[in-house]
């Protein structure tokens, strides 16, 4: 039984395709970095618009958040890669993947920021007002610096989720880790070995990152009255 089980694996032969898998991992990391770099500021912008004074803009932001969170990330990727070309808008797979998941993640991150801003005690805002600060100054000097401390741990968790969610863009033929695994295993039929190695690679990045986020969480909670807001797992994680 055990021998049969172990017979499914051939780690000695893995050397042949390890470079390909590592390139796939590099692509997954590059996707994660690009998408985070776009959706971190974009999410903040959407959150600020949603908390802003213009009613029309507020409605736009809420609609964006609800539509994006209410539809699967895969559908959003399909739209960008398969539907937009019908309107003459074409992207290469990597760009399409980055745009699709940035749109998706910015909606989730906007809610994280919004919760972080809402967690700043009313007394802090009143004190800022009483000192004659304008809305803008209050936001920049008081509210955002406090909110950022609260949202860093959940944002970190979303970063880890995103690293795993980049596997979704395999659907638009980006050669990230999962898609590379499919290509490799469909030629050498070493499914067990290939996907076990891939799992180990994901874990090798995710677990230390999770430890880092936990450490940040402890550091950030020191000396603030504000409790960290819980970071729910994005819907995209369930669509895989």
């Amino acid at each position: 039984m055990l021998t049969t089980f172990l017979g499914l694996f051939d780690f000695q032969g893995a050397g042949d395709y390890m470079p390909a898998l590592l390139r796939g991992a590099a692509t997954s990391l590059a996707l994660t970095a690009c998408i985070m770099l776009i959706s971190l500021p974009l999410g903040l912008l959407i959150a600020l618009v949603k908390l802003g004074r213009s009613r029309i803009l507020r409605t736009c932001a809420s609609t964006y958040i609800e539509v994006i969170r209410g539809t699967p990330a895969l559908l959003q990727l399909f739209y960008i890669y398969f539907v937009l070309p019908s309107f003459g808008i074409r992207f290469d797979p990597f760009t399409a993947g980055v745009i699709g998941l940035s749109i998706n993640y910015s909606a989730y991150l906007a809610e994280v920021y919004r919760a972080g801003i809402a967690a700043v005690p009313q007394g802090q805002i009143e004190a800022a007002k009483a000192l004659g600060m304008s809305r803008r100054k209050m936001l920049r000097l008081i509210v955002l610096p406090q909110a950022i401390r609260v949202v860093i741990p959940p944002l970190g968790n979303y970063g880890i989720s995103l690293f795993k969610d980049t596997s979704l863009v395999s659907i638009v033929t980006v050669k990230e880790l999962i898609f590379t695994g499919q290509i490799v295993s469909s030629t050498n039929f070493q499914y067990a070995t290939v996907f076990t190695i891939i799992g180990a690679i994901y874990l090798a990045f995710s677990y230390p990152s999770a430890l880092l986020v936990r450490w940040l969480e402890r550091r950030m909670s020191v000396g603030t009255k504000v409790k960290p807001v819980g970071g729910a797992t994005p819907v995209t994680a369930a669509t895989q």
Partner: protein
């Protein structure tokens, strides 16, 4: 300095301020006393527009700054006018509200630098002088959570003073403090009164109110019931409602073992 004319304020169904008229002269120390929920704090918060009023007018320096009539309609003043007024009116809160992410010195300098446009070195020098005044120079680089309540409140007073306000509003500034820390905060407030600062002090400390005030206002159920000089107010209150309040305060103090003299 501050004048309220027929101010009304509702919180939903609750009529929090009922036709309140009051004026505070320059250099005057006015204490506002009364039972919880009588509208004292609401009145104070209206003075720097932390609450908007429903009707009436509030004048600061004889300028009707908060509400203006236009085409017979009430309109809240624009943000810039409100901000300009708040910069002139210092406020100290019951719960201190120091900025938790800033050090003591940054708490004091942030508004002078970013609202008044002071240079950072001027603001620092001024802040150090104020910290010295409230006896906390050694804590300049501490963070609020490292300070006791009394120390936090003294920093909050220094923060408000750094704006060089023309009037200071104190909203039950000792109510959240442990009894042994009340004295250090009241000493700072008393110093300001002695220096001739115009102040409106909402307080439950009757002994303190009697000692520092030029005038006492007693509020109950959103109305000003009685006002007068401290000696007359405490010795011979005119209204039954005032006598009842003073008696209950006296009882409370006696039960607390007379930590605060009436």
């Amino acid at each position: 300095m501050i004048r309220l004319e027929h101010v009304n304020k509702h919180f939903g169904e609750v009529h929090a301020l009922k036709d309140v008229s009051l004026s505070v002269a320059k250099g005057e120390v006015l204490s506002v006393v009364g039972p919880s929920g009588s509208g004292k704090s609401t009145m104070l918060r209206c003075m720097n527009h932390l609450e908007t009023i429903d009707s009436g007018t509030i004048y600061i320096d004889e300028v009707p700054v908060y509400q203006t009539l236009k085409n017979g309609k009430r309109r809240t003043d624009n943000d810039r006018a409100v901000e300009a007024i708040r910069a002139k009116v210092g406020m100290v809160f019951q719960s201190f509200n120091l900025f938790s992410h800033l050090s003591v010195i940054e708490n004091i300098t942030v508004a002078p630098i970013h609202v008044l446009g002071r240079s950072s070195s001027d603001a620092m020098a001024e802040a150090n002088a104020l910290l010295d005044k409230v006896g906390l120079l050694a804590k300049a680089n501490a963070y609020p959570h490292e300070l006791s309540g009394g120390q936090q409140q003294r920093v909050a007073i220094a923060r408000a003073l750094a704006m060089q306000p023309e009037v200071m509003l104190f909203d039950e500034v000792t109510s959240a403090l442990d009894p042994e820390l009340v004295g250090e905060v009241l000493r700072v407030v008393r110093t300001l009164a002695d220096e001739g600062m115009t102040m409106v002090v909402v307080t439950h400390e009757m002994g303190f109110a009697r000692e520092v005030s030029d005038r006492i206002v007693f509020m109950a159920d959103g109305r000003i019931v009685e006002e007068g000089a401290p000696a007359a107010f405490f010795a011979a209150p005119q209204q039954a409602r005032t006598r009842e309040f003073l008696r209950s305060m006296w009882e409370r103090n006696r039960q607390l073992g007379g930590t605060v003299s009436l």
